[in-house]
């Protein structure tokens, strides 16, 4: 491996993002231990990463309207689905069919937000680092690093560390709670529901109430209204935090009928 290979294959950027294969990562590390140019590029990339990670929400919001939700390759599928939906509406209404020329591509068609998906959204529950009984353990080190990603909005990147921490220390409820929440925030509803289920199974822990609440959010994302309602009713019956939020969601679900 030399500087040219590294530049050509964007290895430093991939290294910083944590997507380089282990063997390449080791080779790159050994290389920059002796190379001034690659080491300085690494420092630049790390500083840039730190800034854009902290500003991730603002950057995504600023460019959100210009960034496609689906890769270009899937657009024909999305366009077909949208055309099918329009055809369905047309067939079920007596109004005359709109001329084909008026068809608008999906990326500019204003769509009504799906109420269930809107209800499934939530702000990440705050995390405050506290001294833990296992401070210094491998699981705690993994957790700490993962929670840095979490607090900076990189939920998908937080998941592997949280999963590894949960596997190394199966007794720590916080690891599994934040694994569940991060999975939901990364649009991995099934994984999130599964992790929160293990928190609920533990019974009365400081995370019980929130686990019911956020699992309900997972069910909403999965459009499983009955399960979401059941979890929200649990939150109300526990009568701790999040009762107003749970009640508001129950009211919204009732209004959807």
């Amino acid at each position: 491996m030399n500087c040219k290979d590294i530049e050509r294959d964007d290895m430093i950027e991939r290294y910083v993002a944590g997507t380089l294969a282990d063997a390449q990562r080791d080779e790159l590390e050994e290389h920059y231990f002796g190379c001034e140019i690659c080491f300085e590029k690494l420092r630049v990339c790390r500083a840039a990463q730190s800034v854009v990670r902290k500003d991730a929400l603002a950057i995504r919001a600023a460019t959100g309207s210009r960034v496609r939700m689906f890769p270009r390759a899937t657009w024909p599928v999305v366009a077909l689905a949208a055309a099918g939906f329009i055809a369905f509406i047309v067939l079920h209404h007596s109004a005359p069919a709109p001329p084909v020329a008026k068809y608008t591509p999906p990326q500019t068609t204003p769509t009504q937000p799906d109420p269930l998906i809107a209800m499934a959204r939530f702000d990440p529950p705050p995390y405050k680092a506290v001294a833990m009984r296992d401070a210094g353990s491998e699981a705690q080190t993994l957790f700490k690093a993962a929670m840095q990603n979490y607090t900076e909005g990189r939920f998908e990147q937080a998941i592997p560390g949280l999963r590894a921490a949960s596997e190394k220390d199966t007794q720590n409820t916080a690891y599994r709670f934040f694994l569940g929440v991060s999975s939901l925030l990364a649009s991995q509803a099934d994984a999130g529901i599964g992790a929160l289920q293990t928190v609920i199974n533990e019974g009365d822990t400081p995370f019980l109430n929130e686990a019911w609440f956020y699992r309900a959010k997972g069910y909403l994302a999965r459009r499983d209204v009955a399960a979401a309602r059941r979890d929200l009713e649990h939150v109300v019956s526990l009568n701790r935090d999040l009762v107003p939020e749970a009640q508001a969601l129950l009211n919204q679900l009732a209004a959807l009928k």
């Binding site: 910083v16 997507t19 080491f39 690494l42 630049v44 854009v52 990670r53 460019t63 210009r66 270009r72």
Partner: protein
């Protein structure tokens, strides 16, 4: 860019000088490798406190080995330091309680280590440069450095070609690099 000579010249010379008892060579070795160990540990663990401690511990272990002539002649110094860094990091992750080195051993007189403070300074410079970029370029940096997407994937999302994405990314990083240069040169001057 730093005026440091290539590894072969600088580092092999350092190993010899340290073996011969040259204290300034120990400082040079520390200034060269401690920041590398720091970055290595931060990327691997995300723990800058651990990175600062290990950066120091690794270089001290290497200097001890060099003083005692334990580095084989044909062995590359950078590979040796990297090996020590990997081993100490693995030991650290396996150890239950953290063995924190509060102060330097009495037989060491080393310069100030690269630290979280310097990292924050670099971040300030980066923030200024990134603030001046176009929104699309900021978004590309986010997708490359945080989301770990490839140029082709980003191109699909933002409607550019993969080459266009690469060019924009390189231009943005070069801009940052140019702002970093004065700081790098200053740091290199300290080592000579």
């Amino acid at each position: 860019m730093s005026k440091l000579p290539p590894e072969g010249d600088l580092l092999s010379g350092l190993a010899t000088r340290i073996r011969e008892g040259d204290k300034s060579a120990e400082s040079d070795l520390f200034l060269f490798f401690q920041p590398r160990v720091y970055e290595f540990v931060v990327v691997r663990t995300g723990d800058s406190e651990l990175a600062q401690d290990l950066g120091q511990e690794v270089v001290i272990a290497v200097i001890r080995a060099l003083r005692e002539g334990r580095l084989r002649q044909q062995e590359s110094l950078k590979s040796y330091v990297y090996g020590v860094a990997r081993n100490l990091l693995q030991d650290q992750l396996r150890t239950k309680a953290r063995q924190k080195l509060d102060q330097l051993p009495p037989d060491f007189d080393l310069p100030q280590a690269a630290s979280q403070y310097e990292e924050r300074e670099r971040e300030t410079v980066a923030r200024q440069a990134i603030g001046e970029l176009e929104a699309t370029d900021r978004s590309i940096l986010l997708m490359v450095l945080v989301d770990g997407l490839k140029a082709g994937e980003i191109a699909n999302r933002i409607g550019l070609t993969a080459d266009g994405v690469r060019q924009r990314k390189s231009r943005a990083l070069k801009k940052l690099s140019a702002l970093f240069k004065p700081a790098v040169t200053k740091s290199a001057r300290r080592t000579t």
